[in-house]
Symmetry: C2
Subunit: 270 residues, 2 copies
């Protein structure tokens, strides 16, 4: 097959990476997309570095076997842990951290940037390190938000939803008080909370969605290499998961309109 | 070794089973205890039946290899899925469902019993089935509470904590309105929320902790068989986990005073 017409691969520990798929479909509607959600082992965010690395290696190997022209690790936790050793980002793949870090450094005027993500992503220190590499005078204010994924997965996302607003205030008010003008949403679940987050931080704070930035990064890289699809019809979406396909389909609808796409269950690491 | 002096094994997908360990140590202070938390794959509650069964089989095989005289599956999800086929409960082991169901049926006066647990436990239908087997006139009011585990694991457990109280009201007010006089806490994390739960339900509702009932069941069975330890000193506690031991130790302190016990990381299924 012409390399141009191979699909773009996206993987995540669970469902959150579907927000990156949504962004990809918006900006690259003709591309085929293959998604893998490692739902039998979700979440990765609370696990140790070495466990996360071994799971990510299996996810990558699976997509390589399926055959993709580019891979997005649409999992903040994997992207963060892997960015530490520069072992993942090259011309065939990217995580969700570097693209969002680059955009945040470009758009911030006062050089005070907030980062919210899972505990594993924050404690890796990668956001801070990468932002300071781009511009040493940036001040970074980080906050792990362990309750945001369960809130999103259980539908506590509407503006005014009391438990979500109370928990979000606890996480975000210190960042607001620090005077940030830009906030990186360093977990692909978090865009679903952007209404609540904006209400707390106000219009003066620009939200950077890590999934959207990774999608734009993929578009740019593939364009430069002449690897964008030349098809005219709508791209296909193929979904794989590692736990029940029915459960996956049911939960996925919180994140994305699946259209007619079906999920298939696969085993990793065999 | 004299079989009497073998440890009691307890396993869970993560930390929650430590509440059963706490109960065991209270009522059987001379017994040695071995705990396994499958932290690399936690949580089980959102996974499919067949995945849960294969994980549980590996947990059991591990404790059998270590050598225990009795095993408590201190995981509501595993207990529930296994109870469906009667494949786990015998004279050498028990889950946390049957003992709590038995106690609830005994103490309820108006025969209206509430059950709260993870979505997998509730959708298995086992609580309802087992309660009705004991007494067909019992009315069962079940409610899955998917946010309770993340709330507990992130420390939202104090009376008056707004997000926890709001979410708990959403789950519990329908049970209160139904007029229950007994509530089974069908997940070993939930006893940490018993203050909040009592405040909502009032003094008229008796809370049954599934971990405590399983501990009493183990005590009764071991006593009947003459298998209680005859040692006079305090029993030891040995902890195993499948992800980082440091992470386990850190999180375990939310649930139990570890004393000098250390955790050791092990691999399952090899």
């Amino acid at each position: 097959m012409d390399k141009k017409e191979l699909p773009i691969g996206v993987f995540d520990s669970g469902m959150g990476g579907l927000t990156a798929v949504k962004e990809l479909r918006d900006i690259l509607p003709h591309e085929d997309i293959v998604y893998l959600g490692d739902t039998a082992r979700v979440p990765y965010g609370s696990k140790s570095r070495e466990t996360i690395l071994s799971y990510a290696a299996e996810d990558l190997a699976f997509l390589k076997k399926v055959g993709v022209k580019f891979t997005i690790a649409a999992c903040g936790t994997v992207s963060s842990v892997m960015a530490r050793d520069n072992i993942f980002e090259d011309e065939r793949s990217c995580g969700v951290i570097r693209p969002s870090v680059k955009t945040a450094a470009e758009v911030s005027k006062n050089k005070k940037i907030g980062v919210i993500a899972t505990p594993a992503s924050i404690s890796s220190g990668n956001y801070e390190r990468l932002l300071k590499e781009l511009s040493p005078d940036i001040e970074v204010y980080s906050k792990p938000c362990p309750m945001f994924v369960p809130l999103v997965e259980n539908g506590y996302v509407e503006r005014g939803c009391i438990p979500a607003v109370e928990i979000a205030k606890e996480y975000l008010l210190p960042l607001k008080q620090a005077g940030i003008d830009t906030l990186i949403l360093g977990c692909t679940h978090y865009p679903l909370l952007s209404g609540i987050i904006s209400d707390i931080l106000g219009d003066g704070v620009r939200l950077i969605s890590s999934g959207a930035e990774a999608a734009r990064h993929a578009q740019r890289l593939l364009g430069e290499k002449g690897l964008l699809s030349t098809k005219s019809g709508p791209g296909t979406l193929k979904l794989y998961c590692t736990d029940s396909a029915d459960l996956f389909m049911e939960n996925a609808t919180h994140f994305i309109d699946l259209g007619g796409a079906r999920a298939e269950r696969v085993s990793l690491g065999e």
